[in-house]
Symmetry: C2
Subunit: 414 residues, 2 copies
């Protein structure tokens, strides 16, 4: 009997070990040392492992077989998987390996992207999605964001910039691109905690109507506006879905909202912008993007950003082309977003005990993974960050060169 | 009998007059004074007419009914239609009227664009297309291009720049975007008369292999290279189709060739660039584009650029997305191209008698219309000019900001 038991265990271990090896191959054979719950260790890839990936429990295997993404995310959050060593380097390596493994499957990914975006975001579903992420509490975000609470890609204009400086530089970079002039009307769709709206009103003398569906964020933004003495003739924060935006404006701006809109709604978003923008107006969409169509990572879609879609430029064109917007300028800031995420993660590591106490350790671990994974996505090029500057068709009052974005006065019209 | 004859003529005139009015409505009711062969004049639109459009012959009517574009182009070339007044203003007004008339027909235009690009360009057909346009003779182009013979959009960096200065500024703008370093290998697809290749070798110390399918242009370029003492270790002009490009490079550049490639071949072009570019390389595609998909103007397709297609950005994505190129930067220079075309047209007006003598008056009139029409296309926003900067996936040696494009030294890597 004992003999048989031992044999079964050995063959069970051998099988599990083989399955884990198969899983590692499926994610592109990353250079990590795998440590099994029984102490077995191996590294299939050549070269020095960047970190040690510990499977602490055999129950991770069926989860990883079902979905490497969801399985890994959930098991890591629950502590059944642990990573020893540099977490950012680990995330980079895993992302690089998976990305290279799945390179070239363009048509398949395009279809996946299409299928994943069949489901639309109704007004109420959008509200739920927003609550899921942004209504976690201002105290939570305050722990690791910069003081202005800017929760989008920063702009590291100078190599030694801090996160706070880079976020301020981003606000100015956006304002310069929009060529804001005192007295102009601006509509902002998805204003977060209001940092850009406040900055535009304070430093560019424009009037802003800023929309956001998160009550927590809007409350924060309204308090800030009141504290700074900005009354409603200059700045209004509207707690509403972007689809309920009304009015006309000289500049339409949306920073980090498109990711939540859902591809199905792109054409309607374009129509809305077209109706808002005056003929001589200008618009800026700042969004995470991709270099090819692909669905959102399954774990992210389930636990972090439900209802989201990260578009490639051809997908994003569905906003612009039906309404003949002239694309004036596209800038890719992906390396800036990788650095932004690393700065957030560094802050987060310092407060993760507080976060665990506020929510749970599982929550804190999930967010740690999300921030490191996002950094890795931008660093490896799986994710891009596009700033797209647009004008209504036939608007010839656009600048001739982009020197105005870099501090030089504009070339006069010709 | 006489009574009947007169009645027939009157009713014939009345019918023709009505048909011409219908034609003018079909092109969006432009603000032009129409003068008929019988002396009748009318202007249907409100406001002061920008020019007088004279139909000198009743035979224009069936032509215009068949196709306003081809009919107008051919009848104007033959002198059956004349335009009195400012020709550029006339072209702008007609283009504006047509564009506004057909605004919003997005799905229909998208289908037309797709259908128009079903036919591919075989190697021999491409050769014929190139001969049709570029092998007209270097003497012809020398009459109205700048001394460097740059036949693509200039870059009016300063308001008072001449065409020659603006073309030089364009060459430098492209070189700066590519961050050329001495000793690098560059492949150029579609090099025209060689201006960029010569400039890159002379001023940036790179080695260039430049391809072109026009024997006239390549001969010119080779003579220039010999005159400047640039031997084949530094610069080679290859008389061949872009599809036969081989080798690896640090920078891949193509200025004004994509318009001739044909949409069917975009993915193969992308594959070719992907195979050529080293992992740390960079590419630049400079091409006329559109703000939405549409077929090439029928007269242009028949008489000026057979086999061409002008893509929207979503169509252009077929080059980049299957190979996961990271789009680093897109700049729209449409107003620069409008000004470039006007500068060419102004030169052309001065030499049109010479051109008529070289070819025929019909040819000279056709080219006059083509240049004015192109200017109008860019000025009204029917046409765009995109400079698209790309990098292979995962190339992190890209610059952090775009200040390097505007003379500042690069931000050091982080």
């Amino acid at each position: 009997m004992m003999d048989i038991d031992t044999r079964q265990q050995v063959s069970g271990n051998a099988l599990e070990s083989r399955v884990v090896r198969w899983i590692m191959m499926r994610v592109g054979n990353p250079r990590v040392l795998v440590r099994m719950w029984n102490g077995e260790e191996f590294c299939l890839a050549d070269g020095r492992p960047v970190a040690c990936l510990e499977f602490r429990d055999r129950r991770v295997i069926p989860e990883l077989i079902m979905s490497t993404s969801v399985g890994f995310g959930e098991c890591y959050s629950k502590g059944m998987i642990e990573v020893h060593g540099d977490f950012v380097a680990f995330a980079d390596e895993i992302t690089r390996a998976i990305t290279e493994k799945y390179r070239g499957r363009y048509n398949l990914q395009k279809i996946h992207s299409l299928l994943a975006s069949v489901r639309g975001n109704t007004l109420s579903r959008s509200q739920q999605n927003v609550q899921h992420h942004y209504d976690l509490g201002n105290e939570f975000y305050r722990l690791w964001l910069d003081p202005r609470m800017v929760y989008t890609c920063a702009y590291y204009e100078h190599a030694d910039a801090t996160l706070e400086q880079a976020q301020l530089a981003k606000l100015d970079h956006v304002c310069r691109k929009l060529r804001l002039r005192p007295g102009q009307e601006v509509i902002e769709a998805g204003c977060g905690w209001g940092s850009l709206a406040l900055h535009m009103v304070q430093h560019y003398g424009v009037r802003v109507k800023a929309y956001n569906n998160s009550i927590e964020q809007v409350s924060f933004a309204r308090e800030e506006a009141a504290r700074l003495g900005l009354d409603s003739s200059r700045l209004t924060f509207v707690k509403d879905d972007y689809r309920n935006i009304t009015g006309r404006c000289d500049a339409f701006v949306s920073i980090g909202m498109l990711e939540h809109v859902g591809r199905k709604h792109y054409r309607n978003l374009g129509k809305l912008i077209r109706n808002c923008l005056k003929p001589g107006g200008i618009g800026l969409i700042h969004s995470i993007g991709r270099s090819r169509p692909a669905p959102v990572d399954a774990w992210i879609a389930r636990h972090i950003f439900p209802g989201g879609h990260i578009p490639s430029l051809s997908e994003m064109s569905e906003i612009f082309e039906p309404f003949e917007f002239s694309i004036l300028d596209i800038e890719n800031l992906r390396l800036h977003y990788a650095r932004t995420c690393r700065a957030w993660l560094a802050n987060f590591e310092r407060v993760k005990d507080e976060v665990s106490a506020m929510y749970s350790e599982e929550f804190a671990r999930a967010w740690r993974l999300y921030l490191a994974g996002s950094s890795a996505g931008f660093h490896t090029g799986t994710l891009q960050l596009y700033q797209v500057l647009i004008a209504p068709p036939g608007n010839n009052s656009v600048p001739w060169t982009r020197k105005y974005q870099y501090g030089e006065s504009e070339t006069p019209g010709r």
